[in-house]
Symmetry: C2
Subunit: 228 residues, 2 copies
């Protein structure tokens, strides 16, 4: 079995760090494919009864080369035990490169079991008030200004046709991205800004671009989701 | 506060029915806006310390008229207590009409807090192995055959460009929908079929349409997600 293991989005002392399934499942796993070994070890360290001596970690992230991916894919059928897949935060194989290993598991006939946990995309969408019956996650936009403008205008048309458009941005570019939206789109456009979701300072508000222009949120370097 | 309360997708005696937050939060709420009063009462009945005498339920679903929606929107600012929003199953305001009341809450300055819980869309996407960095939830397709074919071919083009396409269908039409895909799309197309997610007979597999043609899944009348 390949278990898809969601991890916490934000530290919050009022929330239990681990769901109840984690305490029984995690100590049984010895092989982990992870986006970031350090954060995964930190997460596992909070679980009772984990013996780190026996654990093997394989990294799969945006720095993984095609050759390394191919090597990992070849290892997959040799594992005689259950495997855990973990993202740096949130749900693995969504907005990270983990889908590669899940696809491989399907071709090898390995059973894939997704576990329930936090997804910043889904939590932001639920709480946005935007259309949740038709939506697209567009990920990151191009960095080059003209290309970015073209994409933003194209996605704005889809939004006007009723499909909610969901984006993430590298946290230190949040302010610039909001500035781009204010520059390129009509100021009456509704934009949901959600940051530090599940954290103590969780912020989720849907307002017009005009409102955001006058009341810029304090979200520099904080993980954020944008929806229009 | 408007709490967005996810509910279980499928009965499973091996999973705890309620997340830990539910036992402390739910007994404090007396006003619920729900997709289906009966299923919500059934869910609440499993929570300790719920006093049904004090609870008020308001329904919001696909049968709610514009007049009833407008009446509910007018009631919203008169509630002096926290409110819970619940879908029939899974995350409220995603693939159901609940977003209407969330949008209203934002315009009234009511804080919106989404709680972590199961989303069949997200669980299916994670476990599909399909691209999770760019995806669209297209909801239900038109029933009329020519219109449906047109939409399927259009979404197939988006899928070829790298955007995973996610669909739901009314459970008794699952077999027909699979038949349509087999008829309209190339047989080498990969399709993920996921049904009874989180249930004891959870099924999630990604195979070619050719495979599905030869090995049709046993999913008649079961809630399913399709991804290509």
């Amino acid at each position: 079995v390949l278990y898809l293991i969601p991890t916490p989005l934000a530290p919050n002392p009022h929330l239990p760090t681990l769901p109840t399934w984690a305490e029984s499942l995690l100590p049984e796993l010895q092989i982990f494919i992870v986006e970031n070994t350090r954060t995964s070890k930190k997460f596992l360290a909070k679980t009772p009864n984990i013996n780190f001596d026996n654990l093997q970690f394989f990294e799969l992230n945006e720095h993984t080369t095609e050759q390394e991916k191919s090597d990992l894919a070849k290892l997959l059928p040799t594992f005689s035990q259950n495997i855990g897949l973990m993202s740096e935060a949130g749900c693995p194989a969504v907005a990270d490169p983990g889908a590669f290993i899940v696809a491989k598991a399907h071709t090898l006939g390995i059973k894939v079991v997704p576990l329930v946990g936090p997804s910043s995309i889904m939590l932001a969408l639920m709480a946005s008030g935007m259309n949740g019956q038709c939506f697209a996650f567009q990920g990151y936009l191009p960095i080059e200004k003209d290309q970015k403008k073209k994409k933003i205008l194209q996605f704005y048309q889809l939004s006007k046709q009723g499909q909610s458009q969901i984006f993430i941005e590298t946290p230190y570019r949040n302010r610039q991205f909001l500035g781009d939206l204010i520059q390129f789109l009509p100021l009456h456009t509704l934009l949901c800004i959600a940051y530090n979701i599940t954290g103590q300072d969780e912020f989720i508000q849907t307002q017009t671009l005009q409102y955001w222009q006058k009341n810029p949120p304090d979200f520099h370097k904080k993980p954020a989701i944008f929806i229009f």
